[in-house]
């Protein structure tokens, strides 16, 4: 049977009239949406600029660790965040990328269509993009067997053999989701499991599951599509080939911090360095969620950081409001 995941709509016309905001949020994931909620309740004029709403929530099917909600899906949680923020009247500009952020005096936010908006404070909450393995064949076979979104692409691997690369929660969840489609699943991970035990416990119901830990993927090979991977067993130092029809790469994220290159301090991984108030090294610019140095990339943590940023920006504006 079919289900129907209707998403809320944002009213766009306000952006024709209003071009300046107290607090502009870049990114509509958990961090950005919660920041918008806190900011508007404090009475700030706020707007959200995001390509789409929900961010990585859309890449996860089950969410079981958001306190108060015993079980939900990423899609439902995203929709309830969106709905909540819209109900409070926050203008949300979707469908466009922010392509430039500058601070000549106020912050200038440029969209991919050339529109420019200004704000006295900005929250940068652009999250992350799937990390790639960085091995030979990965780009060649991307979307020809190699995928970074299990919820999107699992149906293409019905009754096929798929590999899941990774050993964290998202890899373990990917295995559970794929079990409904694939006939055989092989996990390849270069070290030991880091996933929650409660997810790993679900593996016992999966029929044809093989797990290779301490095993590194060296290369993806194929012809018109991916046919398999070459791996190194790190314990025996032996190389071998695993034939498979597809592979889901779930090895974490890289921060989407590019727009701030040269503008703020970052660590070696290009994560934005923030203090306890989510302030970056540039006055008036805050960062929250997966794009920051905060090591535990989770929905509730990102959302909480967004709240901190909005409250800190409110304080800042009280003393500096123009």
């Amino acid at each position: 049977m079919f289900d129907f995941a209707v998403e809320s709509q944002s009213e766009q016309s306000i952006f024709d009239q209003q071009k300046h905001f107290d607090f502009a949020v870049i990114g509509g994931g958990p961090a950005g949406m919660n920041a918008a909620l806190y900011a508007i309740r404090k009475g700030l004029s706020v707007a959200v600029f995001s390509l789409e709403i929900g961010g990585q929530l859309h890449n996860t099917s089950e969410v079981d660790n958001y306190i108060g909600i015993e079980h939900t899906t990423g899609g439902q949680l995203s929709e309830s965040f969106h709905h909540h923020v819209l109900e409070l009247g926050v203008p949300i500009k979707t469908g466009h990328m922010v392509t430039k952020l500058e601070k000549p005096d106020d912050f200038h936010i440029t969209l991919d269509n050339g529109d420019v908006y200004t704000a006295q404070t900005v929250l940068y909450a652009t999250g992350g993009a799937p990390r790639k393995l960085g091995v030979k064949g990965e780009d060649e076979f991307a979307n020809k067997g190699v995928s970074y979104c299990t919820t999107c692409d699992a149906p293409f691997f019905k009754n096929e053999h798929v590999i899941v690369a990774g050993g964290g929660n998202s890899a373990a969840e990917s295995v559970v989701d794929l079990a409904a489609w694939a006939s055989k699943i092989t996990v390849v991970h270069r070290s030991q499991w880091r996933a929650d035990q409660i997810i790993l416990d679900q593996f016992k119901d999966i029929n044809d599951l093989t797990i290779h830990l301490e095993t590194q993927i060296l290369e993806i090979f194929g012809d018109t599509k991916m046919r398999g991977v070459r791996v190194l067993d790190k314990t025996t130092q032996e190389e071998r080939v695993i034939e498979a029809d597809g592979m889901f790469v779930e090895i974490g994220n890289i921060p989407k911090s590019k727009l701030l290159d040269g503008l703020v301090e970052m660590n070696e991984q290009h994560e934005i360095i923030v203090n306890r108030d989510q302030e970056t090294s540039l006055e008036g610019l805050y960062a929250a969620g997966d794009v920051t140095t905060q090591p535990y990339k989770q929905i509730i943590i990102s959302a909480a950081e967004g709240a901190v940023a909005a409250l800190a920006a409110t304080q800042y504006l009280m003393h500096h409001k123009k």
Partner: protein, 214 residues
């Protein structure tokens, strides 16, 4: 028959479509068995059309109404097009049932077709002014893909913005053969004039760049 849209979704859809401006007609093509999801698509479209008096549904048979099918370039079933208030085809087509996440591209196309400004005029600017060749945009989706409706809406909005552009959603699981032909194993996958490919929910500029480079 049991309803496809439950009470909550019915309410959401009704509210969503409330601001529709002018009338929109959906022309649905099905055929006798075997047709995977023809019945369900018909039921969905008819349930939705009951939620606003701005919307009508016309049912056609791929074989019995072959000339209509040809007019809209329909070769698959289920497949439907949306016509504006003057019964003009603006190049907006759906192949397969727009359920799951895809309900969003369906509803948004209805709103757009009814004359709600989708705000692309500035973005498109003059970039399509010199477009003379016909452009066909195929957007392959799965119903569990949250990034897909955005890609479909972009393509459909481009179709509504220029008479030479036609855009079609293709539900990859219903239409396995054509998906295989285009090597689809990741969605959204956007194929322009059967040759140029884009993957992922790309901003509209990427579509424009590809079209300009044709």
């Amino acid at each position: 028959m049991e309803k496809l849209l439950n009470e909550d979704v019915t309410k959401q859809v009704k509210e969503y479509l409330n601001p529709m401006k002018s009338n929109v007609k959906m022309v649905l093509f099905t055929q006798e068995d075997p047709c995977n999801t023809c019945q369900e698509t018909k039921q969905l479209l008819s349930e939705v059309s009951e939620l606003t008096d701005k919307l009508t549904l016309v049912e056609k048979d791929l074989n019995a109404d072959a000339s209509d099918a040809e007019k809209y370039g329909i070769t698959l079933t289920p497949s439907f097009v949306m016509l504006d208030e003057n019964d003009d085809y603006q190049g907006v087509k759906f192949n397969g049932i727009p359920a799951g996440h895809e309900i969003n591209s369906f509803l948004s196309a209805l709103m757009d077709m009814s004359g709600i400004d989708f705000g692309l005029a500035d973005t498109i600017g003059s970039s399509l002014d010199n477009l003379e060749t016909p452009v066909n945009i195929k957007v392959f989706v799965t119903l569990s893909c949250p990034h897909c409706p955005g890609a479909v809406s972009n393509a459909h909005r481009l179709a509504m913005s220029h008479p030479n552009i036609e855009s079609e959603m293709i539900e990859a699981q219903t239409f396995g053969e054509i998906s295989q032909k285009f090597n689809v194993s990741g969605v959204p996958k956007i194929v322009i004039n059967d040759t140029h490919e884009l993957v992922g929910n790309q901003p509209i500029q990427e579509y424009l760049k590809t079209i300009e480079a044709l």
